[in-house]
C-alpha cells in the first residue's frame, strides 16, 4: 500500500520538501488569509503585455520575472538607480530608476553618462512580513552610530519618509520620519510603497496610488497615444493582494546544523560577522497574527553600515550615505544556487559569485571581519562558508 502510494505520488508529481522553496506561506494563516495569499501569488506572477498596461517604459514584465522563485534576481534583472533627494533624483534624466525597455513606439531611457549609477540586484522577497513585524525599538536598540562600544561597528537606522499615498493602516505609513526596512539601503518603510513603486517603476503599471504613467522625460512622444490600457492599470485590490502575498511569504528552512556547521557558526560569531549579521530578531505585535511574536533567523541587524569605497555607490538614499548599505539578511542562501541555475549573485549588484568572494569584498565596518576570515585556516574557512550557505 505504501509502495503504491509512493509510486502514484511520484507519477503525478510530488511537492518540494517543506521549507525548500521561497514561495510558501508562513504557518498559522487563516483560511481567508491563505485565499488572499493565493490571489496575491497569481498577481505576483502575472506578466503584463503592452495591451494589459506594460510600460510605456519598464524594466521587466512581472514581479516574478525579477525574483527567481521569489528569491533574488540575476544580473540581467539588475536595476539602475540614479540621483538622490538633493538633486531631485535626476528626474530630467529618467531618475530615480532607469527604464531600459519600452513598448513598441516608445523610447527606453538610456543610462546617462557622467552621473553615479547604482546597480541593484533584485533582493529576495520572502520573509519581508517578518522583517516588517520586528519592532522599531528592537532595531533601533542595535544601533551604535558613534561606535560607543568601540567594536568598530557603527550601525544606524535609515530614517525615511513614507509615500503620502500609503494608507495610515499600513505599517511604516504616516508623516514624519519612519524606520526604513526594505531595499538595499533600507530606503523604504512600507511594503505597500515598495509594491506600488515596483509596479510603477519596474513594470510601468499604474495604480490608484500612482495613477500617472512613468515616462521617459527625454522623449517628446505623446505616449498616451500609444498606451492603450486605461489608468489605473491595476486596481487597489491587486496591489493589496500582492502586498499580502509577500508579507505572508515564509523564509525557507535552514539546513541541519551539523558539527562542522556548528564550528562554522562559532567562527562566524568569533570573527565578528554576527555583529552586523545578527542571527535572530523577534517580531512584536502585527495585524497578521501569523507574523506576531516569532523568532526571525534573518542574520541581519537591519541597520546601515559603511562598507568602504569599493562597494560605495555614491548615491545617498534617505539618510543612507553613498557608502552605506543595509546588512543583507543571509537566510535563504541554502537554496540560492538552486533558483539561479547553479549560480550565485551576491552583494547589492551581484558582483560576488560566491559567499567567500562576498566576504572578501567587505570593507569599511566589515574590514576587521574580512581580515579575520582571511586569516582562518582553509578548514575553518570551509566550515564557516558551509554554515553560511546552509542558512
Amino acid at each position: 500500500m505504501a509502495v503504491g502510494s509512493f509510486a502514484c505520488a511520484d507519477l503525478l508529481t510530488s511537492a518540494p520538501g517543506e521549507g525548500d522553496t521561497f514561495d510558501a506561506p508562513v504557518e498559522g494563516l487563516t483560511a481567508g488569509e491563505r485565499a488572499a495569499f493565493v490571489r496575491g501569488d497569481a498577481e505576483f506572477g502575472r506578466r503584463f503585455s503592452p495591451a494589459s498596461g506594460l510600460g510605456p517604459v519598464f524594466n521587466n514584465v512581472s514581479c516574478a520575472s525579477c525574483h527567481s522563485g521569489d528569491g533574488r534576481g540575476r544580473l540581467e534583472n539588475s536595476l539602475s538607480r540614479i540621483g538622490s533627494a538633493a538633486d531631485g533624483f535626476l528626474s530630467e534624466l529618467g531618475g530615480p530608476q532607469i527604464q531600459d525597455r519600452a513598448i513598441p513606439g516608445a523610447q527606453p531611457e538610456p543610462v546617462p553618462a557622467g552621473v553615479a549609477v547604482s546597480v541593484r540586484l533584485p533582493p529576495p522577497v520572502f520573509g519581508v512580513g517578518l522583517i516588517e513585524a520586528i519592532p522599531e525599538a528592537t532595531i533601533v536598540a542595535l544601533a551604535d552610530p558613534d561606535d560607543a562600544n568601540g567594536d568598530g561597528i557603527s550601525g544606524r537606522p535609515n530614517w525615511v519618509f513614507a509615500g503620502a499615498y500609503v494608507p495610515a493602516s499600513e505599517p511604516g505609513a504616516g508623516t514624519g520620519l519612519k524606520l526604513g526596512r526594505f531595499g538595499r539601503k533600507a530606503q523604504t518603510s512600507s511594503l505597500l510603497e515598495q509594491t506600488v513603486e515596483a509596479y510603477h517603476q519596474d513594470i510601468g503599471i499604474t495604480s490608484e496610488f500612482r495613477p500617472t504613467e512613468n515616462r521617459n522625460p527625454m522623449s517628446g512622444l505623446p505616449i498616451d497615444a500609444l498606451d492603450a490600457a486605461p489608468d489605473p492599470e491595476v486596481p487597489t485590490s491587486t496591489v493589496q493582494a500582492v502586498v499580502h502575498y509577500i508579507r505572508a511569504l515564509a523564509p525557507p528552512a535552514a539546513g541541519a546544523l551539523t558539527a562542522a556547521r556548528a564550528e562554522g557558526e562559532a567562527l562566524f560569531t568569533s570573527i565578528g560577522c554576527a555583529l552586523c549579521h545578527t542571527p535572530t530578531l523577534t517580531t512584536g505585535a502585527h495585524k497578521l497574527s501569523a507574523l506576531a511574536h516569532k523568532s526571525v533567523p534573518l542574520y541581519s541587524d537591519m541597520l546601515l553600515h559603511d562598507m568602504g569605497d569599493a562597494l560605495a555607490d555614491n548615491r545617498p538614499d534617505g539618510s543612507a550615505t553613498g557608502r552605506e548599505w543595509r546588512t543583507t539578511p543571509l537566510w535563504g542562501l541554502r537554496l540560492m544556487r538552486q533558483f539561479l541555475h547553479g549560480q550565485a549573485f551576491l552583494m547589492h549588484d551581484g558582483r560576488a559569485r560566491s559567499v567567500e568572494e562576498a566576504i572578501l569584498q567587505h570593507a569599511g565596518e566589515g574590514l576587521s571581519s574580512r581580515t579575520a576570515f582571511a586569516a582562518l585556516s582553509a578548514a575553518q574557512r570551509a566550515a564557516l562558508l558551509d554554515f553560511v550557505e546552509s542558512r
Binding site: 508529481t13 503585455s49 503592452p50 495591451a51 525597455r101 513598441p104 516608445a106
Partner: protein, 411 residues
C-alpha cells in the same frame, strides 16, 4: 498610399507568377493524377474515388459527412475531456471540458467549383470561430485556386487535426503553443498535385494571406506567442504574408512535408505614413507521416523567428522551436465480440517546445503514453498519461502530470 497599392499589386502578381510558373513546371516534369482530392459530397459516409485524399483527414477528407440534398454534405465532430492535472504535487486544472463541437458543411457547386467550411465552438461556446470557409476552383488536378478562410498549410497537423482522428487527447505542444493550430487566415492561393514516379506524388499549397498581427507581442503576457497574433481577419498592414507547403509522398503510407509562413506582422505604414520599422514573423516546419510495420509514426518540427521591437529585446523572444514525434500501434481488432469493427491502439508521444532559444529556460517538454478504444472507426475513447517538465525564464524546473480521458466522434 500609392506605395501600398504598388506593394499589394506586386505581391499578388508575384504570387500569381509563382503559382502559374510552378504549376507549369511541375506539369512538364510529372504526369497529373486523375483527381485532386477525395470527394465526399456524393453519398457521404465512405464516398471515395479510390484516390488518396489531398491531406489525410484534411479538407474534403471528412468520410463521415452526410449528404443532404443533391450536392451539399453536412457533418462534424465533438470532443469532451475529463482531466486530472497536477503540478509539483498540487492539483491544477481538474474537471470536465466540453472541448469542441465542430460543424462541417461542404458543397459541390459544379464540376469545377466546391465549397467547404468548418465552424468551431470551443470550450462550451466560449470561443466560436469560422475555422475554414473556402471556395475551390479546380482548373486541373495540378492547379486549383482557393480563396476564403483557409487553413494555413503550415505543417501537416494544422491541415489535419480533427479530434476523432488525432489519437491523443491534447494536441502537440508545438502545434498549440508555437504554430497555433488551428491556424486559419483569410487568403487566396493555389494547390494541386502531381504524380511522381510509380505510386508517388507531390502536393503543394501556396497562399497569400493577411498573416499574423502584433498581438503575438502586444497581447502576449507570457512572451512571444504566435497564436496570439492570429485572427487577422482584416489586414493590418497592407502587406500580405505568404504560406506554403510542399509534400512528397513516394508511396501511400509515407509523406514528407516542408512548409513555411513569412510576412510582416506589425503596422509599419498607415495611410502612406511610415510609423514603424517593418517586422517579420517567419515559421518553418518539416513534417512526416509514415506507416512502418503496422505502426503509424508521425511528427513535426518547427522553428519560428520573430523580429522584436528594440525596446522589448531581451523580454520577448525572437527565436522559438518545437518538435513532436508520436507512434500509434493498432491492436485487438474485433477483440470485443459485440463490436467486430472495434480496435484498440497503444500510443506514445514525445514533444517539446522552447519559447526562447536564447535562454536556457522558458521551455516545456513532455511525454505522453496511453491507449485508445475505437468501437467504430469514427469514434474514439482515449486514455492518456502525460508527464512533463516546465522551465521558467530562470530555468527553474516545475513538474507536471496529467491523467486525461476523452471521447471524440465524427457525426
Amino acid at each position: 498610399m500609392t506605395r501600398t497599392i504598388i506593394r499589394v499589386c506586386v505581391g499578388l502578381a508575384a504570387l500569381g507568377a509563382i503559382v502559374i510558373t510552378g504549376a507549369v513546371v511541375l506539369h512538364l516534369i510529372a504526369t497529373p493524377v486523375a483527381a485532386q482530392q477525395r470527394d465526399t459530397s456524393r453519398t457521404g459516409a465512405q464516398a471515395d474515388t479510390g484516390d488518396r485524399p489531398f491531406v489525410r483527414g484534411g479538407v474534403y477528407d471528412k468520410p463521415f459527412e452526410n449528404r443532404l440534398g443533391s450536392r451539399t454534405a453536412f457533418g462534424g465532430y465533438a470532443e469532451a475531456h475529463a482531466r486530472y492535472e497536477r503540478a509539483d504535487g498540487a492539483n491544477e486544472e481538474s474537471g470536465f471540458v466540453a472541448k469542441r463541437f465542430n460543424l462541417f458543411a461542404s458543397a459541390r457547386v459544379s464540376d469545377v467549383v466546391r465549397f467547404a467550411s468548418e465552424l468551431e465552438f470551443e470550450e462550451g461556446g466560449e470561443e466560436v470561430k469560422v475555422e475554414f470557409a473556402a471556395i475551390d476552383l479546380r482548373i486541373h488536378p495540378s492547379l486549383a485556386f482557393r480563396a476564403g478562410m483557409i487553413l494555413s498549410p503550415l505543417g501537416r497537423f494544422n491541415l489535419s487535426h480533427d479530434s476523432p482522428l488525432n489519437e491523443f487527447t491534447d494536441r502537440p505542444l508545438v502545434s498549440t503553443e508555437l504554430i497555433g493550430v488551428a491556424l486559419s487566415e483569410p487568403g487566396f492561393g493555389a494547390l494541386g498535385q502531381f504524380r511522381v514516379g510509380s505510386g508517388g506524388r507531390v502536393t503543394y499549397e501556396v497562399y497569400a494571406t493577411n498573416g499574423f498581427n502584433d498581438g503575438l507581442i502586444t497581447n502576449a503576457e507570457d512572451g512571444t506567442r504566435l497564436p496570439l497574433g492570429r485572427g487577422n481577419f482584416e489586414d493590418n498592414n497592407a502587406s500580405p504574408a505568404f504560406v506554403g507547403r510542399v509534400a512528397w509522398s513516394p508511396r501511400p503510407a509515407l509523406e514528407l512535408g516542408v512548409s513555411a509562413h513569412h510576412g510582416a506582422y506589425n503596422v509599419f505604414e498607415t495611410e502612406g505614413v511610415i510609423v514603424d520599422d517593418r517586422r517579420n514573423a517567419t515559421v518553418a516546419v518539416v513534417d512526416f507521416d509514415a506507416m512502418i510495420g503496422g505502426t503509424r509514426v508521425q511528427g513535426e518540427a518547427a522553428r519560428a523567428t520573430v523580429q522584436i521591437p528594440p525596446g522589448l529585446a531581451g523580454i520577448y523572444s525572437g527565436s522559438q522551436r518545437g518538435i513532436f514525434v508520436e507512434a500509434i500501434r493498432e491492436f485487438g481488432r474485433g477483440l470485443v465480440r459485440t463490436l467486430p469493427a472495434s480496435t484498440f491502439a497503444a500510443k506514445v508521444r514525445w514533444d517539446a517546445v522552447d519559447f526562447n532559444t536564447a535562454l536556457p529556460g522558458d521551455s516545456r517538454i513532455q511525454f505522453t503514453a496511453g491507449v485508445n478504444f475505437r468501437p467504430t472507426a469514427e469514434s474514439v475513447l482515449k486514455l492518456d498519461y502525460v508527464r512533463g517538465r516546465v522551465r521558467d525564464d530562470f530555468n527553474n524546473l516545475g513538474n507536471r502530470a496529467a491523467l486525461l480521458l476523452s471521447l471524440a466522434t465524427y457525426f
